[in-house]
Symmetry: C2
Subunit: 352 residues, 2 copies
């Protein structure tokens, strides 16, 4: 026979007596213990027990007996629906999870976190948290400043759930450094790209700047470079164009985005990672961490999208980027730029 809960509206919890502690808390990780055998459940926990038929009803302060339908309809918070769906999904996958708050758990994770998910086979009393989980709807914007190390669960309009592992990232590489750049190669600026006329082969073949112009016999290949590559090379006196002219052209064709992308390009090169355009993947860059020669180029590891640090993500755009990166076996990384300071965050699909 099932039990009934009593809605303690002041505390925002549902209290259940009798053998609830043993039945729901100790053996299945719901709620937190009160005195005796009584426990307190968060609304999402009570809803789940109602939904499963484990709890017969919740009685509110006016004496109404609520079933799952009337309990769900009564819960006012706009996030109750999406939080319930994620709670139920993780339970059905065999995880125990608690609201990320005391007294459900000690030392809750910081930041905007909804649930603490415990390692498989563990519960709230074991002192270990596998994932700090934040739940949003696909219509909830995510300010870049809110990104936290943890898991983001996005519930789409048809109530399917995607989990993203969000992590700070510190990209490093061992590509050939720039110590061997040439000196003042002849170059022409053509609208929004640059031609470098017959530079030393290593500029392309060892350090992977530019793309050779095809279809012509040559001793040394003539290279087409992007404005970013050209500005970076001009700053190091490797080509004979004025840095200011190139920067001005970049800003004319891309606006503020150019400066942000140049900051990211530069920091990647300084970390001995080679950035090349990510256009075909809809990103700013794809990156190669360990270029020794273009002839033996490995797979590019990261796709990088550059944003200002006050950017606000739409979950649908995140889904698109992460899905595409996954499909081409790369990791999606967001570079958030604030006055030249860069924060790096990776987002990857997670199957709990």
């Amino acid at each position: 026979m099932g039990l009934e809960g009593r809605f303690d509206e002041d505390a925002g919890v549902i209290r259940v007596g009798s053998d609830a502690r043993q039945r729901y808390h100790d053996s299945r990780g719901y709620g937190y213990p009160l005195e005796g055998n009584e426990i307190a459940l968060a609304p999402v926990e009570a809803a789940h027990l109602l939904y499963r038929g484990d709890l017969d009803a919740v009685v509110d302060s006016s004496g109404n007996r609520l079933n799952f339908r009337s309990f769900a309809a009564r819960e006012p918070g706009e996030r109750f629906g999406v939080r319930f769906l994620v709670y139920a999904d993780l339970r059905s996958r065999g995880f125990y999870l608690s609201p990320a708050a005391e007294p459900w758990i000690d030392a809750p994770p910081e930041g905007p976190t909804d649930f603490a998910v415990f390692p498989r086979g563990k519960g709230p009393g074991d002192g270990e948290i596998e994932h700090a989980l934040r739940v949003i709807s696909e219509r909830t914007d995510v300010p870049a400043t809110d990104l936290e190390d943890g898991v983001l669960a996005v519930v789409d309009e048809e109530s399917e759930i995607t989990y993203f592992d969000v992590s700070p990232r510190d990209p490093t590489g061992s590509s050939n450094p720039d110590s061997s750049l040439p000196n003042n190669c002849e170059a022409d600026l053509l609208t929004d790209r640059v031609i470098v006329w017959e530079p030393p082969r290593d500029l392309y073949e060892a350090t992977f700047y530019g793309q050779p112009l095809e279809g012509r016999e040559y001793e040394e290949p003539t290279l087409q470079c992007s404005l970013l590559e050209a500005t970076y090379l001009a700053e190091r006196d490797a080509i004979d164009l004025e840095v200011e002219t190139l920067r001005a052209r970049g800003e004319a064709v891309e606006g503020e985005r150019f400066g942000r992308r140049l900051a990211v390009y530069t920091e990647l090169r300084e970390r001995e990672i080679v950035p090349k355009t990510g256009y075909k993947f809809g990103a700013d860059f794809r990156t190669y961490a360990d270029v020794e020669s273009v002839e033996n180029l490995g797979h590019s590891e990261l796709l990088i999208r550059v944003h200002p640090d006050d950017h606000v993500f739409e979950p649908r755009d995140l889904a698109l980027d992460v899905r595409l990166a996954h499909g081409v076996r790369k990791t999606m990384v967001f570079a958030l730029v604030d006055d030249g300071e860069i924060e790096w965050w990776s987002l990857e699909r997670l199957t709990p």
Copy 2:
């Protein structure tokens, strides 16, 4: 021995005499014939012959002898660079192509077209055009109103080229029609989704509305529906919620986008195609043309993104959408909505 061209600056063409007609036009499809053996070349054609070393120089009206580098630096139009790159790329793939204008070709294609590309093995005199080709840089915005049946070549910042086949589309299907919808099923609106309590099984299993709530024993499954599905069902009296309430909620959470998406959802259903959310692919819908039962659901064929008809595309976003769709073996379709009138366009990657 090579020939020299003479820049006719008034006409904007380069005239080449001697045996140029036989050598460049008749056998290799460059330019158009003038009197005698003389031909006229567009700047992009002359540049290509200079680049290949087939033409020794172009002499301008001041008597300067221009080589490829000085000719390219002199060409002022900001689109010369990207047009040249595409021209050279298609030539290197074995195609002949001409400026999409008289007198290079008769009856040039309409709209913003740069080149007429002839079928492999054919030239300008054969009266057949394989592709009407438009060239843009990845930084060129594309207004939706400019989409034309043809090929769009996008040159990225590192001068690599992506070709998109752009076609009007007329999606049709043979999924189970709505004739058997139930009558006024009980349903609750929960923030931005709807629960339909134990409707007839066919609502899900034959016509593929909603998703069953998992993890509970049931006779008839309880369905979660999106606001779009629920509004559509309420308009047909299949669920007992007010249409106006649902529309208002949709507009509250999505703004104007909701009305556009509902127009597209409705037209797809009327065409006997089942739209489901495309969130996981970053799109509005994925579609199933031939649903007989959910149990034997085939692969979804299209990804659909909905835009107002005055939308302006960024090529990078197009690259992202089309790449992702291709990776999951679907076709990317854009639905452009103007007061309920919908235009459908597909974009697919093309390897010439």
